[in-house]
Amino acid sequence: MRIKRLAAIAAVAVLALGAAACGSDSDTPSTPSGESPLVAKAKAGQLKFGVKADQPGLGLQAGSAYEGFDIEIAKIIAKGLGGDAAKNTYVTTVSANREPFIQTGQVDIVVATYTINDDRKKKVNFAGPYFTAGQDLLVPTASTITGPEGLDGKKVCSVTGSTPAKRIKEKYPKVQLQEFDAYSKCIEALNTGTVDAVTTDDIILAGYAAQSQYAGKFKLVGKPFSSEPYGIGLKLEDKAGCTKINDILKASVTDGSYKAAWDATLGKSGTPAPTLDVSKLTNCPA
């Protein structure tokens, strides 16, 4: 009860602030039920996307620009909302701060390898999934590990507070779990042999394995032991925005921009684009 009330207060406060901020240049100060506030932001070129900065192929800050599949999806969304994708602002998020960033409005939309789950659904609204990953293991090429069952007593690295880390703790309590704030540190620990495996979603691991610096050193075990539907996170009460984003995703399949996004990023390694099952898109509860 309290949670809801506080969230409502917060939501009202955010809406009030948002209205105050853009009230001057907009003749529709409130958007009661029809349009999502995201549309106005997109048209003003003010969309802020929360993305990952250290995941090759998905969301990586190389130089001053962000690149990867998540970034391409963000561009598709910005365009679909009526904005200019070149005006997107990207904000680095880490696994642990995505919900607070959405709740407190530090970002408008999160496209950051963000698994849809029940816990998170209580705090944010999810559009998508735009991709379904599975938790897998990345091991040195010579490793004999063939799946999570063989991990007892082994050292496994993941990111503090992430879903994969929690799953290992709960389902495989005999595993020694090393936690860092970023996967890049896990990969380096794997590279020096400090940990026996790195675990997270297969798509993320594949991105690391394909990096030229680590070429030939790691392999993916290839037996996903979970299903991770990647969603697009936005404010819990923004049902209209969620529905709109789902429509954008549907359109991206038909006009080929989804496949183009894949081919320009993760598809470079030769993996064919996955099929986006539009029947599985969320129904945007609010």
């Binding site: 779990l177 090393q178 936690e179 540190k185 020096t192």
Partner: protein, 224 residues
């Protein structure tokens, strides 16, 4: 406050602060010993040792602790292969203690060195006149007197250390800041209550230590 009604959350809070105490205890002892050795190096007649002491102090005092602790994991453990235990969590604990001790020793060293400077020159001169060697002079005459005026600054170092151990979280040690982070992440709406409990626990731990050391320092101070 309902977040602390959940026993699992209470346990996380207690474990976090227990880890803070364990890290502080071990690091404080090691830093004190190492700091004394470094201080002895810095005032010794051997130039190489003086350079070693000065180098240590400048290196560690000017580097962020976050960097030092990360380096303990990736440099000392991963690259050099220093391993304290097969158990990952025990190993990380000692790696954090290593980083914290190396860093804190630089401050202990400087505190002791400035303490040595408060001992009147006549004391050392008299000791030399009696034929005491450098190490006898330092051990028997100077350090015992210096330690009295060093109590207060060492108290400050201890308090800083207790707060600094929260940085051990960067290599996955489950101390208080990690516990707080975890609780806030799953109970965002109770952020204020969670922070208040953690912050006040630090206040409750550290303010008495501060006053205790001040009182001790006032009792031990050499009136000149």
């Amino acid at each position: 406050m309902d977040v602390f009604l959940d026993p699992a959350n209470r346990q996380a809070y207690l474990d976090g602060f227990l880890m803070v105490l364990k890290l502080t205890g071990a690091s404080a002892l090691l830093a004190l010993v190492l700091g004394m050795l470094l201080a002895a190096c810095r005032v010794s007649p051997v130039p190489v040792l003086r350079a070693l002491g000065a180098g240590w102090v400048h290196l560690f005092r000017n580097t962020p602790l976050t960097l030092i602790i990360l380096f303990c994991f990736f440099g000392l453990y991963s690259a050099v292969g220093v391993e304290f235990s097969e158990d990952l969590h025990v190993n990380n604990y000692w790696l954090a203690v290593t980083g914290l001790s190396a860093y804190t020793a630089a401050f202990v060293c400087e505190a002791i060195r400035s303490g040595i400077n408060t001992v009147p020159v006549g004391q050392a001169e008299a000791a030399r006149a009696l034929g005491l060697s450098f190490s006898q002079n330092l051990r028997l005459i100077i350090l015992p007197q210096a330690m009295r005026s060093v109590v207060a600054p060492l108290g400050s170092v201890l308090i800083a250390l207790t707060k600094n151990v929260t940085i051990a979280g960067v290599i996955g040690v489950a101390e208080a800041s990690s516990a707080m982070k975890g609780l806030i992440e799953s109970n965002g709406d109770q952020t204020i209550a969670i922070f208040a409990v953690f912050a006040l626990t630090f206040v409750a731990l550290l303010v008495p230590v501060g006053y205790g050391f001040s009182a001790l320092a006032n009792r031990l101070v050499v009136r000149r």
